[in-house]
């Protein structure tokens, strides 16, 4: 067979995915697992289809909350990251504080947000924001700090100001780091949203799942899971695509060395 390695790899990934669900289906049928414990993929698909009109508004709610939290988190993360990454002193001073904040389990901040803003969308947005800040800050700061000293010397000798160096060298240099962190942050933002929705909200997929699980509607719980997975993968792909558009230079695309 003369398939290109890329096509081959894609076919194999697709095959792995299909086999996973097939295996799940078959094992459930053979072992006779109750659909109260683990519903079969085919059952989940049916529930997903039937309940879609009900699930759709919640899907949109979760998506909007996640995107809002993600956007706020990334913006804040970039601002903090640039601030602490462009000065050694700021970096050393702020780093312990940041590590402290980031090591707080994020589920613990939800009750605080609920006290402050009441149950609903706001705590969910804030949780997803808080959870997605840290990877952005660390990556942006690292990216800024990783400018080669010789390159900075070249610009300083030309009489470049700190701002010139930041705009022309440090920020573009930090872009691959930023986009790498976006892929992590978007996934975490989902975690934050769903977390807050299960604890303190009356809308969103997280809320649907917690209610469904109270009603032993396990197929509906799994439907929620499928929706979350689909949203997560979609947003990951979007960030990936953006990354390759903006920072293609760091992946050395194009023809190879000439000589």
């Amino acid at each position: 067979m003369s398939w290109s390695p890329r096509l081959r790899q894609r076919l194999l990934s697709a095959l792995a995915l299909v086999s996973f669900f097939l295996l799940w289906e078959v094992i459930c049928l053979v072992v006779g697992v109750s659909d109260l414990i683990l519903p079969r993929p085919s059952q989940i698909a049916v529930v997903l289809w039937e309940k879609m009109p009900l699930l759709w508004p919640h899907t949109l709610q979760t998506l909007k909350t996640t995107l809002a939290g993600f956007a706020l988190g990334v913006l804040t993360g970039i601002v903090i990251g640039v601030a602490i990454g462009s000065s050694k002193l700021a970096y050393d001073v702020a780093y312990p504080l940041l590590v402290g904040f980031s090591s707080i389990p994020k589920v613990a901040v939800v009750p605080i947000f609920v006290v402050w803003f009441g149950a609903g969308t706001v705590p969910a947005i804030l949780t997803s924001m808080v959870i997605s800040i840290f990877p952005v800050v660390v990556n942006v700061a690292t990216g800024l700090a990783s400018t080669e000293p010789e390159l900075e010397d070249v610009l300083k000798v030309l009489g470049a100001s700190r701002r010139d160096v930041l705009w022309n060298v440090s920020l573009p240099r930090a872009m691959p780091y930023l986009f790498a962190s976006l892929k992590i942050a978007i996934t975490l933002a989902f975690v934050g949203t769903v977390l807050a929705e299960t604890v303190a909200a009356n809308r969103g997929i997280g809320n649907v799942m917690i209610i469904a699980s109270g009603n032993f509607d396990v197929a509906l719980v799994f439907s929620g899971l499928v929706i979350l997975a689909a949203l997560g993968v979609t947003l990951y792909l979007v960030s990936s695509w953006l990354e390759s558009r903006v920072t293609g230079w760091s992946q050395r695309k194009g023809d190879m060395a000439m000589v």
């Binding site: 080669e148 010789e150 390159l151 010397d153 070249v154 610009l155 300083k156 000798v157 030309l158 009489g159 470049a160 010139d164 022309n168 060298v169 573009p172 240099r173 872009m175 920072t247 230079w249 760091s250 050395r252 194009g254 023809d255 190879m256 060395a257 000439m258 000589v259």
Partner: protein, 278 residues
């Protein structure tokens, strides 16, 4: 009093932190339009002198005066000295094309800075292309840095150092990482660029043939602490060729320099072993 030199180092010492003395009471003057090479073993403070002249380091004592002004002092009015610099590592920005990399100084240095946006696709781009063609990179302006070999990147790095017509060009072993053929080719290119534009050049190198081929004057340095042992004129006529760099007179000069450095090194080793013994 005579007209002050373009670059005056008087009794300059530099100590890193509280430890190593990189440079001890060194004096050096360079006239406008001269081509001076600093040679010596690694770690002798050659690059330190270059960085002092560039204003990237401040001396612990002594004065570094460039064109009548203390280097590193805040520029009070007047036009800033135009400097160009190239290192052993070409340090091209990977997200820009070669042409854009070469044009970086035009983006930063006045008076080009003010009209960069307006002229970057016309006049400045032509200027970069012309310079690239001069170093043998015609047609490579649109390539990205990773598509070029090390020798080609070093050529581009020379273009970047020269695009804004610097009055002073600082070269820190720019040909150090290249193979011999590429190196000799770049010597010839460097020489013709210097003859054409006549910037003042300070070249740091450990290659004695390179110094003899390119420079008007060679300063031999010793290490620990770094100081200038002796200065030699290079009397050979220009343009010099690779053939002439193997001529007996040139070979004799290189040999003499080599002996001087070897002598300094052996004295140093003796001094060191005495220190250890004591």
């Amino acid at each position: 009093m005579a007209e002050p030199s373009f670059i005056e180092l008087s009794d300059v010492s530099l100590r890193y932190g509280t430890g190593t003395v990189a440079l001890a009471r060194t004096s050096l003057s360079i006239e406008t339009g001269d081509f001076v090479a600093l040679v010596g073993p690694s770690g002798c403070g050659k690059s330190t002198i270059l960085k002092l002249v560039a204003g990237l380091l401040q001396p612990t004592s002594g004065g570094v005066i460039v064109r009548g002004r203390e280097q590193g002092s805040p520029s009070v009015g007047g036009e800033r000295l135009r400097l160009g610099i190239a290192f052993q590592n070409p340090t091209m920005l990977p997200w820009l094309t070669i042409r854009e990399n070469v044009m970086i100084p035009l983006k930063i240095v006045p008076p080009f800075r003010a009209s960069y946006r307006a002229k970057r696709n016309s006049e400045f781009a032509d200027r970069a292309e012309a310079l690239l063609a001069q170093v043998g990179l015609k047609g490579f302006g649109d390539k990205r840095p990773w598509q070029l070999s090390g020798g080609m990147l070093q050529r581009a790095s020379l273009c970047r150092a020269l695009i804004h017509d610097p009055q002073l060009l600082l070269l820190d072993e720019p040909f150090g990482a290249l193979d011999q053929f590429t190196r000799e080719e770049l010597w010839a290119i460097m020489q013709s660029l210097w003859i054409e534009r006549r910037p003042t050049v300070l070249l740091v190198t450990h290659d004695l043939r390179e110094a003899a081929y390119l420079a008007n004057r060679i300063c031999v340095m010793s290490s620990r602490p770094g100081r200038i042992l002796e200065t030699r004129e290079v009397p050979f006529s220009r343009p010099r060729t690779i053939q002439s760099s193997y001529a007996p007179e040139m070979a004799a000069l290189v040999q003499a320099l080599r002996m001087r450095i070897a002598e300094a090194r052996s004295q140093e080793d003796q001094a060191e072993s005495q220190e250890v013994a004591a």
